[in-house]
Amino acid sequence: MLRFIGKRLLMMIPIMLGIILVVQIFITITPGDPVRLMSGDLLSEEEMEELRVQLGLRDPFFVRYVNYIKNILRGDFGTSYRTHRPVLTEIMSRFPYSLLLVSVSLALALAIGIPIGIYAATHQYSWKDNLSIIAALFCVSMPSFWFALMLIQLFAVKLRIFPPSGVDRWIGWVLPSVTLALEYCATIARQTRSNMLEVIRQDYITTARAKGLAERKVRYRHALKNAIIPVIMIVGQIFGRALGGSMIFEVIFSIPGLGAYTISALQNRDYPVIMSSVLILSTLFAVVLLIVDVIFALVDPRIRSQYIGKNKRKKPPVTQQPLKPLESVEGGNAS
């Protein structure tokens, strides 16, 4: 299993380099000039020029790219143009808030979404199923920022149950995490429902029934375990979308998270901050994807057996047709 994780970590490095390259390209092609913005016409032309040289804006593209990587390896994520404080400390101070918001809402989404999905799948031709489909469609179609405003208006302003913001007390977290969780709860519910329906039609479920198992046991022991595995896969994707979605929520609920920080940095071209926050958010996303893959490999014996005890047990005899005879067998597994 360690070999599997090792291989995946190695694969993350090119991706990181790719991200830095992508963001670097964005910044170079953009119009507008950060130094002018930063100086606010206080500095004369030559001073701005000299500042640009000092900030390395004049170096050729590739040199800047290599320098930036060197800095990162030394842990120096550069200083913010606007606040002149090292970017790393600012990010690290804001990072936990974002992480907390996203993971709480994801946990909520899983806790609510999966049971609803199962319930809908097991009552297929009833009104309960149709209701859940329509409700899920509504949640997915709802603009989350607008829904957040509505909830603030209802709960915070009118009913005064939950404060619109304030991250120190746990009650301040209820509104943001619930609203963010809503959309992903719908996605998870739909995915669980379709997986359950597909699994229930499989032969091994009929075999389980023919063994004399009660329907409830068939559903929760055999069907659910097989249906949940693909749901783990999309949790990784949803985490990515939640990271993106949370940026706006942090603005609305004034949570000092990394998302809000990135948006403000973007609005006034604070390149080092943009670079580092995009990098860190993407790294977080990649790490989560890795964790999801590891969990997936642990839970699904078909994949686990490829990585553990490969040598202990003799290779299973190959009896199916030889590989589908394409011109050349594709490397890597189909995505």
Binding site: P317, V318, T319, Q320, Q321, P322, L323, P325, V329
Partner: protein, 323 residues
């Protein structure tokens, strides 16, 4: 007159993650015009790959293929196009071998339209004729494959194969997916076509009673190697290779009286990836000795009866004294 099709030491290997997969390993045979060669073997023995390699759907690893005396092992594009008018294929799965978006007429007309010799009207007329020859009623012209049953779909596949007037058709298990009564209709159709159009068939199947009925010669394959080849009556009358004997004894015959003593093979198929040289049936063969480690030579103990087993003379003797 050179035979219609001659294959010499044909090999087809796939490189897979686990190593080199020997799908087809050193197969040689000849096939005359209007005759049928049955290729029999269990799943994974490479019979389907052999068919597709001869038709150049897969490129040849090594060996030689002669068609009417011409060497067509590595054809150029032009030559391959001409070749495709003489060699065609009928698939096993009637559901996945027809484009669901095309109607029956369009499917049959496609090869003619691509060939471009006939005008659209002539193509349509030829398509109607072909539907008639394969026993498809004209009213199905605009039907789509999902509206028809397995038997009719297979007839569309046959009509498409006949469109360019081929001399040789590879039938890749054409009847295994069909019911018994429909299977008989398709087999009769294939036999009629062979008689009227003089087409040679390479009939690939795992169903031994079908292959005996339809083929003149039969070739038995095991894990990519040819183990035995003989005329169909000769092969069923006195099989020599241990695997052929086990295969024939394993067929459930629909006759309750002579419940023959079955030879039950032990063990499972070994892996064709990076196989050791020599006979691949060795792990499951009761007569196996060290000699079987060396590559087996194809001998001809009886006229037109080839066996790839070093023990064949010995097997023949104790067969003779038991009779």
């Amino acid at each position: 007159m050179p035979p219609l099709l001659e294959v010499k030491n044909l090999k087809k290997y796939f490189n897979t993650k686990g190593g080199m997969l020997h799908a087809v390993d050193d197969i040689s045979f000849t096939l005359d015009a209007g005759k049928t060669l049955g290729v029999v073997g269990e799943s994974g023995c490479g019979k389907t790959t052999l068919g597709r390699t001869i038709l150049h759907l897969l490129d040849v690893t090594s060996g030689q293929i002669l068609f009417e005396g011409r060497d067509i092992t590595y054809p150029k594009k032009k030559e391959l196009m001409k070749l495709r008018e003489d060699m065609q294929i009928i698939f096993q799965d009637p559901y996945s071998s027809l484009d669901p978006r095309q109607s029956v007429k369009e499917t049959i007309m496609e090869p003619l339209l691509i060939q471009g010799k006939l005008s659209k009207a002539e193509c349509e007329k030829k398509a109607k004729e072909l539907m008639d020859t394969v026993g498809l009623a004209a009213r199905f012209e605009n039907a789509h494959p999902h509206e028809l049953d397995g038997g009719r779909r297979q007839r569309i596949g046959i009509a498409r194969a006949l469109a360019l007037g081929p001399k040789f058709i590879v039938c890749d298990e054409p009847v295994s997916a069909l019911d018994v009564s429909i299977q008989a209709q398709i087999i009769n159709l294939l036999l009629d076509l062979q008689e009227s159009l003089g087409i040679a068939y390479m009939f690939v199947t795992h169903d031994l009673s079908v292959v005996k009925y339809i083929s003149n010669d039969i070739m038995v394959m095991y894990l990519g190697q040819m183990v035995e080849k003989a005329s169909s009556d000769e092969l069923f009358a006195n099989p020599i290779h241990p695997y052929t004997q086990a295969l024939l004894s394993a067929i459930p015959i629909p006759d309750i009286h002579n419940k023959t003593k079955r030879i039950i093979l032990k063990g499972e198929l070994t892996s064709p990836i990076n196989p050791k040289p020599g006979c691949r049936f060795r792990p499951r063969c009761i007569y196996a000795t060290e000699e079987c480690e060396q590559p087996q030579v194809l001998t001809e103990p009886l006229p037109n009866h080839f066996v790839a087993c070093c023990k064949c003379s010995e097997l023949l003797n104790n067969r003779r004294n038991t009779q």
